[in-house]
């Protein structure tokens, strides 16, 4: 295409003639460090008709290799076709300006990011004479951008990976918790059934014992086993398997003991506020309450009946259980020293760090069991 080259040279020469060497604008464009080319859209394929030294320096081409060619010689394998299409549109639709970053290639094949600015130059009638294009090598800032982008992607990947790991371990923990719950329910079920079995065995044997003293002993064992059973019946009924409401089992326990005694003449009153303790304290506490209530039912009233009050409430850092009757009063009623019931109460209240106090209520007896909530609320 030497003739076209010729024409381009001719057009370049024309530009030169219009702008004599003394023309400061032409001098500026020739010598500026900003790479600049001018193309002629009136010629076929819009060839370059002018390229300044900065452009030749940037691209590594000689002037002869540039003039007369369409700018696409700057494109290469990784140039974004969408970006090229956008430039074509800007030319075809005669946009007043185009700005965009495009990946271009030097003569030696090395790539650079070109911040391209392109704008048409019109004559008085508005017809486009030339396209003016300036190039700016922004490879360094692109690289920084790229690095930032890559780093962000890496971070995102890391976050994704961690999130997936976390989700996996949450799933694992959930599965483990489910397995534990199943196991817990299975064990709980067995404990409850076995307690039922133990109670039934003692009861059946008590019924078949001809020796009255042995029958009494078996019945008192039964009532202690039943106190434990009452605790276990309530354990794991709620959703929180670690806590246990004292008021609930005190109610169950006292109701059962009074009713089992067959004493319709004893009126049970309950003043209960919910106080939660840890489940490992529930059994010993139930046994203590069972002994004290049993003792009151059996010894406080003789034949004349009366009122039995069971109270549970929190009181300034203490769990307070009160058992109060209007019966015969001390000393006749106090759990006999050296009796097994007394031993059980002393043993277990030590374990619970509980203070048990007996006093005359006039009439009757008041027993107060106090224990530090800091102790009974926590699993040991």
């Amino acid at each position: 295409m030497p003739d076209r080259n010729e024409e381009a040279y001719e057009r370049g020469a024309e530009l030169d003639r219009e702008h004599l060497p003394g023309d400061p604008f032409a001098a500026a464009i020739r010598r500026t460090r900003m790479p600049i080319i001018i193309t002629d859209p009136r010629q076929e394929d819009n060839p370059v008709v002018f390229a300044n030294d900065a452009f030749l320096e940037l691209t590594g081409y000689g002037r002869d290799e540039v003039i007369g060619r369409n700018c696409r010689f700057l494109q290469g394998p990784d140039t974004d076709p969408a970006c090229v299409a956008e430039i074509r549109r800007a030319i075809a639709e005669e946009w007043e300006q185009f700005r965009g970053d495009i990946l271009n290639y030097r003569k030696d094949g090395t790539a650079f990011w070109n911040a391209l600015f392109m704008s048409p130059v019109r004559d008085e009638t508005g017809e486009i004479l030339y396209f003016f294009a300036s190039q700016h090598d922004v490879t360094a800032s692109k690289a920084r951008e790229q690095t930032m982008h890559e780093r962000a992607e890496e971070l995102e990947d890391a976050v994704d990976r961690r999130t997936r790991e976390l989700q996996a371990s949450i799933e694992e923990a959930r599965a483990e918790a489910r397995a534990k719950t199943v196991l817990l329910h299975e064990v709980d079920h067995r404990v409850k059934n076995n307690l039922q079995m133990i109670g039934s065995l003692i009861q059946m044997q008590a019924k078949r014992t001809s020796d009255p003293a042995a029958a009494v002993a078996l019945r008192s064992v039964l009532s202690r086993v039943e106190a434990l059973a009452t605790v276990h019946r309530r354990l794991y009924q709620g959703d929180d398997v670690s806590r246990f409401d004292v008021a609930t089992f005190a109610c169950d326990l006292a109701s059962d003991l009074v009713s089992a005694a067959g004493r319709a003449d004893i009126r049970l009153e309950l003043e209960l506020e919910p106080v939660e303790i840890s489940k490992d304290k529930a059994a010993p506490l139930a046994l203590v309450v069972s002994e004290l209530v049993t003792n009151a039912v059996q010894h406080a009233f003789r034949d004349r009946g009366g009122r039995l009050l069971v109270r549970v409430r929190p009181e300034e850092g203490e769990l307070v259980i009160g058992i109060e009757d209007d019966g015969v009063g001390l000393p006749g009623q106090e759990l006999g020293r050296g009796s097994f019931g007394r031993t059980v109460v002393e043993m277990l209240s030590r374990q619970l760090q509980a203070q048990v106090r007996w006093e005359t209520a006039d009439p009757g007896t008041r027993i107060t069991v106090r224990m530090p909530r800091t102790y009974v609320e926590v699993d040991q």
Binding site: Q196, S200, Q203, M204, A229, R233, Q237, D256
Partner: protein, 152 residues
Amino acid sequence: MARPLRVLIVEDEALLAYALEEDLRDAGHDVVGLAPSSREAIQLAERTRPELALVDIHLLDGPTGVEVARAIAGSGVTTVLFMTANVKRIPDDFAGAVGVIGKPYTANGIENAIAFVGEALKDGAEPPPPWSLQLAPHLQPAEDGRIRLGAH
């Protein structure tokens, strides 16, 4: 003495079934049979038409007590009470049962629970039920405040 009832015991643990039978007899009730499996439970209930069936959830053939309750209560003849260590296994509608006695129960607890059901079947029972008996949530007291059962 509580109103005597004709009772079917559905329980796979022979010892518990036997001890319960003894308790109920001592309390004046008539035990019409002991069934350790779902099949026997449903057959016995059809044959003996008891007023009350005490049904454990875990039976010889698995956790079939819920179906047993549904079948027996569905006949409209028998009132069903669950008796289980597995209260959480009971469906929300109680499978037609009127309540549950949680295991481990005490002899006194079961006696009071059954006495309450007996009253509810006869003239209506004054709530609250004894602590050993947890009523099905759908059971509401009548206008006079009493719980009534067996109005089939």
